[in-house]
């Protein structure tokens, strides 16, 4: 039971390098362990037993931006936090992606006021927006699946 059943005794497979690399990137995308507010609790739920993001090769949350590929902005970003968030994003090595989790990170949500950045896309480029306040863990996983689909279509040029 394994890949040899599908391949027979060929031993060699041809594929586009980009496809292979992108496939590898989607299968081991390490998110940064970076919780801001309420959504971080749902992000933890998505990691825990019931939803188990490790099914998608994403169980390894890295506390350091230097080791992570994906920033999940989980929660509201205040004006005091915004420069910190940008610095964390700058510290992540390429290729890197951002998921804006929840309404606050996507557009400010219910907090249309002086303190909250009205959408994290004002400070970092966002690949996928996940709606909800907070989004269910399923919604986050769907967002990440969507990101995987996007990554599969990327070319090397995008990151060079």
């Amino acid at each position: 039971m394994g890949i040899e059943q599908k391949l027979g005794d060929m031993g060699v497979v041809t594929a586009r390098l980009e496809d292979l690399v992108n496939w590898g990137r989607t299968r081991a995308m390490w998110p940064m362990l970076f919780g801001l507010a309420c959504c971080a609790i749902e992000m933890m739920s998505a990691q825990a037993a019931n939803y188990d993001m490790s099914r998608f090769g994403m169980e390894l949350m890295r506390a350091s931006p230097r080791q992570s590929d994906l920033m999940i902005v989980a929660g509201r970003v205040s004006r005091k936090m915004a420069p910190v968030l940008r610095r964390l994003y700058d510290q992540m090595p390429d290729p890197k992606w951002v998921v804006a989790m929840g309404d606050c990170a996507s557009c400010g949500g219910v907090f249309n006021n002086y303190a909250i950045v009205q959408g994290v896309d004002e400070i970092v480029p966002v690949d996928v927006y996940v709606g909800g306040c907070p989004p269910r863990p399923e919604a986050l996983i769907h967002g990440i699946m969507t990101l995987h689909e996007k990554v599969k279509l990327e070319s090397f040029k995008d990151w060079s």
């Binding site: 309420c38 739920s45 910190v84 907090f111 249309n112 907070p134």
Partner: protein, 411 residues
């Protein structure tokens, strides 16, 4: 938007906060947070270290300042309630409870008996859920990873019950001034009974993993000692206070929402350390189960909303044949109800301590001032003097034992 650069400061700028040895370069300044897995959110701590030992610990809060209190002034009383969920996001229904009870106190609104019992039941379930997140993350910080998975497994069961009632897992806004949004669904009772059946054994499971675990005991016993008098001096509340052996619980001292009708013990421990606060919270989960059991067994039948149509919208069935109901409905959803020019303070016992709301009305449909006295903010004040003299690794245990939620601290 333009970003201000991350603030860079020198030792000279911080001279008044640091020890004298810092100026000579004797000690090391280390930044912990705001992005750190063990600060439970976006707390920043500036540490002055002598080797591994903390000389000074300076907390920097406000990274999650949301302007909730100010935003609530721009909304009608009912619309502002959705903001309260997002304060302390582990105790969402508890925040709803304190806010709606403050409104009820302000305008003098009655609550039917059934609604009160359901409120208590839901809030106690939420307390267990909050303690489960605390236990999971606290154990995770102390490198006991499996507890985290077990805790979140049970927490999902509670969230399913909340979702059943309020339609949302976390931000239910299920309590409304004068009662509840709606009655509980039929499957509610069996779901809670199932939970009551399995959960006591689950607590035993957690305790089996931690209570006598030598690594856990080494990391928690004798760490972060809060003496009795100091706990009182600093205004600590909740399990942080009860872990110092002081039996003070607002549910018992100033009963609200019918807590005087339930039999439960106020969990205390004389240990004064991180371990004592752990045992208090474990005990509290068992006590909450007792309250849930009593609430479920003695659930009265009847309406879940006050019949006072000036504050509570009429049921949809009335709208078809009663002009008065239509007028009330229209008035409540466009303008909202008016509260008198007065102020109230309403405290409740949240999983973290005394959660109070000060609500001031100006005669109009919007609050003039809403202020939350949040337990995380007050309890966080203890961290600097608790951390002094400990290792950096113990600071993680201390922060965990205070159980802060930064949404609650910064508001």
């Amino acid at each position: 938007m333009t970003l201000e650069p991350v603030m860079e400061v020198t030792v000279n700028d911080l001279k008044h906060l640091l020890s004298e040895r810092a100026a000579e370069g004797d000690t090391l300044l280390l930044n912990m947070g705001p992005q750190h897995p063990s600060t439970h959110g976006v707390l920043r701590l500036l540490l002055e270290l002598d080797g591994e030992i903390i000389v000074r610990c300076i907390p920097d809060i406000g990274f999650l300042h949301t302007g909730i209190e100010k935003n609530m002034e721009a909304k009608t009383y009912v619309k502002a309630e959705v903001m309260t969920d997002r304060l302390d996001y582990l105790n969402t229904t508890g925040n709803n409870l304190v806010y709606v009870m403050a409104i009820e106190k302000l305008v003098g609104l009655d609550v039917p008996a059934r609604a009160e019992v359901i409120r208590v039941l839901i809030v106690e379930l939420q307390r267990i859920a909050s303690h489960l997140v605390w236990l999971g993350t606290h154990a995770l910080d102390l490198a006991a990873m499996s507890v985290f998975f077990y805790c979140f497994r049970e927490r999902e069961k509670i969230l399913d019950i909340l979702e059943m009632c309020g339609g949302q897992r976390m931000m239910t806004t299920y309590f409304r001034p004068g009662g509840l949004w709606r009655d509980t669904p039929v499957e509610f009772e069996s779901a809670v009974r199932d939970f009551l059946k399995v959960f006591p054994r689950r607590i035993d499971e957690y305790e089996a993993l931690l209570t006598k675990n030598p690594i856990f005991i080494d990391r928690t016993k004798g760490i972060g000692i809060i003496p009795k008098d100091k706990a009182l001096e600093w205004g600590l509340t909740g399990p942080t206070l009860r872990g110092s052996g002081i039996e003070y619980d607002i549910r018992r001292a100033f009963p609200y929402a019918g807590y005087e009708n339930y039999e439960f013990d106020v969990a205390t421990d004389d240990g004064c350390d991180v371990y004592a606060r752990y045992t208090v919270r474990m005990q509290e989960m068992r006590e909450s189960l007792k309250i849930v059991q009593q609430a479920l067994d003695n659930m009265p039948m009847g309406p879940v909303n006050s019949a006072n149509r000036k504050f509570v919208p009429p049921p949809r069935s009335e709208l078809g044949h009663s002009m008065e109901a239509v007028i009330h409905h229209f008035k409540l959803w466009t303008e909202g109800f008016e509260a008198p020019k007065a102020s109230v303070y309403m405290p409740v016992e949240s999983p973290r301590g005394e959660l109070g709301v000060y609500l001031e009305g100006d005669g109009g449909p919007k609050p003039y001032r809403v202020h939350f006295r949040t337990p995380s903010f007050t309890n966080l004040q203890a961290v600097p003097w608790l951390a002094e003299g400990h290792y950096v690794a113990d600071l993680v245990a201390i922060i965990g034992s205070i159980d802060i939620v930064l949404g609650d601290t910064d508001r």
